[in-house]
């Protein structure tokens, strides 16, 4: 269950990609053990926020803290080693590697995969019979499961998952929601999700990002009741 202690604190980050000022003041606070979601229209800066936390597009100003430690100037491999797993948009699984190799490469200590295999195959039983297949041969849903499974191999205390439902059939989305809900019993999750129904059913906390700035944040149950806010920032009824 969520505690009041924040595992992740993002304070007023400004991120540039080339000469473009993409994030113009984003703040996110996520209590340990919770599921948070970043909401907002396409191009609002949700993906860039996750990439900034991961150190892929470092912030020019502001602060990112994970368990109290400042991540700002760290490269993404050091951020990952702090205990943060990243499941990017479009999955980014290695298509030429087998499912097993995709999982093995995520080990940070020898034997990580062996220790986590039961949990992974319990959450995603389909993957067990696909371990020898190249990642490129998997369906979209299976690739998404593999991408999440890969983030589970090491002992991550925070998972950043970007658009897990993108392009997937409703039955697969249900499976993923079930898996993410179970994951949140062991780890904190920060999602980016366009599918409001999925986001509202999963998340405890939300932050709406609008034109590169965090506009509103709060308890998900409050947002679900506030149709005006949803309509204003997300354009969904």
């Amino acid at each position: 269950m969520a505690s009041s202690e924040a595992i992740l604190e993002v304070k007023d980050i400004h991120t540039f990609i080339g000469q473009f000022h993409i994030l113009e003041g984003v703040s996110v606070s996520l209590p340990r053990g919770s599921i948070g979601v970043l909401l907002g229209r396409n191009g609002a800066g949700k993906t860039t926020t996750l990439r900034t936390i991961m150190g892929i597009t470092p912030p020019r100003s502001g602060e990112v803290r994970f368990e109290g430690q400042r991540l700002n100037s760290m490269r993404s491999f050091s951020v990952a080693r702090m205990g943060i797993g990243y499941v990017p948009e479009h999955r980014a699984i290695f298509k030429g590697l087998t499912v097993r190799e995709n999982l093995h490469i995520a080990e940070r200590r020898s034997g990580d995969f062996t220790r986590k295999a039961d949990l992974i195959f319990d959450l995603f039983p389909d993957l067990k019979r696909l371990v020898h297949l190249p990642g490129g041969n998997l369906s979209g849903g299976q690739q998404q499961m593999l991408a999440i499974a890969r983030a589970l191999v090491p002992d991550n205390r925070l998972l950043l998952i970007d658009e897990p439902s993108e392009g997937l059939a409703p039955v697969i989305i249900e499976q993923l929601m079930h898996a993410i809900r179970r994951l949140s019993e062991q780890t904190t999750v920060l999602l980016v999700e366009q599918n409001f129904r999925m986001a509202s059913q999963l998340a405890d906390r939300y932050t709406i990002i609008d034109e590169g700035q965090s506009a509103v944040a709060g308890d998900m149950r409050d947002l679900v009741k506030d149709q005006a806010l949803i309509q204003r920032y997300l354009g969904v009824a």
Partner: protein, 328 residues
């Protein structure tokens, strides 16, 4: 059969059949094939590093040929040095030591180039090309400064280099056969390294998506340094084992570079299997075209030097992504 293997086998068969057609007897045919395999293996030793470095790091290392040249000079120097001769009179042991020395020098120079010159330029691809091109020129001039501009011929033979055997009425050098064997062994060894080891899995993953590899907690820059160092060491190893045949000269820097680039392109950019197959194919094609171009009825030696580009164009017409490429 998959199209890439089908096209590769068809081209190999066509080249070998053409070689057979040109040869007056089996002995001459054997010499053509053996020379082709020999050239193919030396090409592989330059091209494999070029291909893996390009695939993983997007760096086209124009200095790869210069490392081959340095390997030849170091190997020559150690083997022919009076001091080393006095300390290690056995030429076989001395040759082994000379190859180890060449590999070590290649690895050190490769590591230094990546760590101190290339690393600051990863965000600037054009600068990288200029840098590696410049480094090749500097290395060639440095070699001329240290060893003079005169080419060196390998004079102190060792037992393997000295031996030959008879087949179909022709004499074949045992050392060529050994180099071919070492080449095939390295093809398998590097292939196993890429397929079976963790570092191999990281390299293959890095060829697909470096950013994601780093986001998994892997220090990709360290992998870059390692791969670049190994790539340069393998090229130096190639120069070292080629030196007993080719000697040591500044011209070695460019001897295989253009052909190796052709191999990387025709094999499929970044594909290790494509590079191995491409090296074999181009080595054999070079040897066959050298015979063809030297025929009195043809008398066009330039045909042989045009072979790498002609073969590359031919392959790209059939498979635009290269033999094992993915249309990059």
């Amino acid at each position: 059969m998959r199209p890439n293997i089908l096209v590769s086998v068809a081209l190999l068969v066509a080249v070998v059949a053409f070689g057979y057609f040109l040869s007056p007897d089996l002995g001459s045919f054997g010499i053509t094939i053996m020379s082709g395999l020999f050239q193919g293996m030396l090409l592989f030793l330059v091209a494999s590093g070029l291909s893996i470095i390009f695939g993983l790091m997007d760096v086209l290392n124009f200095a790869q040929g210069a490392y081959f040249m340095v390997g030849a000079y170091v190997s020559y120097s150690v083997h022919h040095s009076p001091d080393v001769m006095a300390a290690i009179p056995d030429p076989n042991i001395r040759f082994f030591l000379s190859v180890i020395s060449a590999v070590a020098v290649g690895a050190i120079l490769g590591g230094l180039l990546e760590r101190f010159l290339l690393r600051p330029l990863y965000a600037r691809p054009v600068f990288q090309i200029v840098l590696t091109f410049g480094v090749a020129i500097v290395m060639t001039e440095a070699v001329k400064f240290i060893w003079s501009t005169n080419p060196y011929s390998w004079t102190v033979l060792f037992s393997l280099r000295d031996q030959s055997f008879q087949l179909f009425g022709q004499s074949f050098g045992v050392y060529r056969l050994v180099v071919i064997g070492i080449g095939f062994a390295l093809i398998i060894l590097i292939g196993l390294l890429l397929q079976r080891t963790r570092i191999g899995i990281i390299i293959r993953a890095g060829v697909e998506d470096r950013e994601m590899v780093e986001a998994l907690g892997i220090n990709v820059r360290m992998v870059f340094t390692l791969v670049f160092t190994i790539g340069c060491a393998v090229a130096s190893f190639g120069g070292a084992i080629a030196a007993p045949f080719l000697g040591a000269s500044a011209g070695l820097a460019n001897l295989f570079l253009l052909s190796a680039i052709a191999v990387v392109v025709l094999g499929g950019m970044g594909s290790y299997a494509g590079t191995a197959m491409g090296s074999l194919l181009l080595g054999l094609a070079l040897s066959v075209m050298q015979v063809f171009a030297g025929k009195p009825q043809i008398g066009l030696p330039v045909l042989a030097s045009m072979t790498p580009m002609m073969l590359m164009i031919l392959v790209l017409l059939v498979r635009p992504g290269g033999l094992f490429g993915k249309g990059r």
